[in-house]
């Protein structure tokens, strides 16, 4: 049921692919992109990246993956590492999107509105995104990774580089706020 459950086949079968990517094989890069594009896209969206910035953010994630893969240590799971990049990229993109919207409000005549792309999100997804938007940045990351991506507390602790106790404390706070937002009616 959870998004990551179907995609946890990475660790065993992905090492050859990563080796070939590091060796510079274009087909391996394509394979890596095919395998993780959807995951990256969905986690970025759930982390609050606006639809109009989603594709660019996803591209930036893969540029970072391509750039830093030779330094990636295989002791960690690739997906954990990818999520860490997504978290970092989502933070930057959200900040950038806020600046864009502020700038376009202040001087709409300059025509610097971000390009609007067709993005027909379902009603439940929109409602969920609106509720998640009300969480703090730290709470949102933990909430999304645990509740929507189905990661364990240990994995999340690795991704956000905090002890598991912190993960669960944040999760507890996030759930309280999320439930309160739903009760208010989003």
């Amino acid at each position: 049921m959870l998004a990551s459950a179907a995609a946890s086949d990475v660790v065993e079968s992905g090492h050859d692919l990563l080796d070939r990517c590091v060796a510079g094989s274009p087909s391996a890069w394509r394979g890596l992109h095919q395998r993780y594009h959807r995951s990256a896209l969905s986690v970025l969206r759930r982390l609050g990246v606006p639809p109009s910035h989603l594709e660019d953010a996803c591209q930036e994630v893969f540029v970072d993956v391509f750039r830093y893969l030779p330094r990636f240590r295989r002791e960690a799971d690739f997906r954990t590492w990818l999520y860490r990049i997504c978290l970092s990229r989502a933070r930057v993109t959200r900040r950038r999107a806020r600046m864009w919207s502020l700038f376009s409000r202040v001087s709409p005549e300059v025509g610097l509105e971000p390009i609007q792309q067709p993005f027909d999100e379902g009603q439940a997804s929109r409602q969920l995104a609106t509720a998640i938007e009300r969480l703090s940045e730290a709470e949102r990351a933990v909430f999304v990774l645990f509740e929507l991506e189905g990661l364990s507390g240990q994995d999340i602790a690795e991704i956000i580089q905090r002890p598991q106790a912190t993960v669960f404390r944040r999760l507890h706070d996030a759930r309280k706020r999320f439930t309160a937002v739903l009760e208010e009616g989003v």
Binding site: A3, S4, S8, V10, C21, G24, R30, H33, Q34, H37, R38, L41, S42, R45, E55, C58, Q59, V63, F66, R67, Y68, L69, P70, R71, R73, A76, W81, I85, S88, R89, V92, Q117, F119, E121, G122, A124, S125, Q127, L128, A131, E147, L148, G150, L151, S152, G153, Q154, D155, A157, E158, I160, Q161, R162, P163, F168, L171, F178, T179, L182, E183
Partner: protein, 286 residues
Amino acid sequence: MATSNPEFPQRLGDGTDQAAVLIARALAEPMPGPSEQQSWRKLRSRSVRAAPRWVMPAVACALASIAALFWFGHPAPAPTLSPDVWAPGAAMAPQAPLTEPSGQAKTEPPPVASERPKPLTSAPHESDAAPCGRQAKAGQYEAAAACYARAARGNSMDAELALYEKARLEAKALGKSSLALSTLDEHARRFPGGVLTTEVELTRIELLSQLGRRAEALSAIERGLRGALGRERGGDLQVLRAELLGAQGDCAAALDAVRLARQAGAHPARLEATEQRCQLPATDTP
């Protein structure tokens, strides 16, 4: 990746309340967005567009080298850098058995390598720090460090990487371990959840060891073993711990660390020095 514990804590989506229904419905909806093919085409065109930025200087350098060969008749020895500075993962491997604490940073010139490191050909475009790497490879270490310091401004991932590279350069090429340590502290302060956090922490422990600050290194290792660093690099941490404890004369604990390092998959060659130190009693008395 570890599988999640289904019992604690239960996920909201597994319940039956309003939140559970919303999450279940949202997860069941298809995620819209660009198709993988469209995205790949765009990504590839980005890298093609970016190619001339590094191809042109490379071609110019190659032509200049050929011209110099013709002009001078024989090639001048190219300034090279110790390969361990640039090889991926080199900073993670312990450099040498521990020496006695000197209290000072090492200042020997870097060893000359016989071969140049391979460039990262897989990167689709070069970052702001790319000229810094070229300066370092040309042996202009001070200039490269200053260049990395400039590239490390801001909060981007490039800035994070540049700061880490600056620390590695200071430690391994310039021999300024204390300065490198303060750069790593700056990294930890500015990028607490960054993508290189575990690498930075391990490099920091290695530097503390090299500087003879054993107690600090050991407590950092203990801290690391309890967290994400231990899960990712437990073997390396145990190797370092064994060396430090062996150097302190605590052979029982050192041999225990050796055993744990073996269990974690550390290469036996990296443990030989500690084993010899602890298993063979000193025989220098007449």
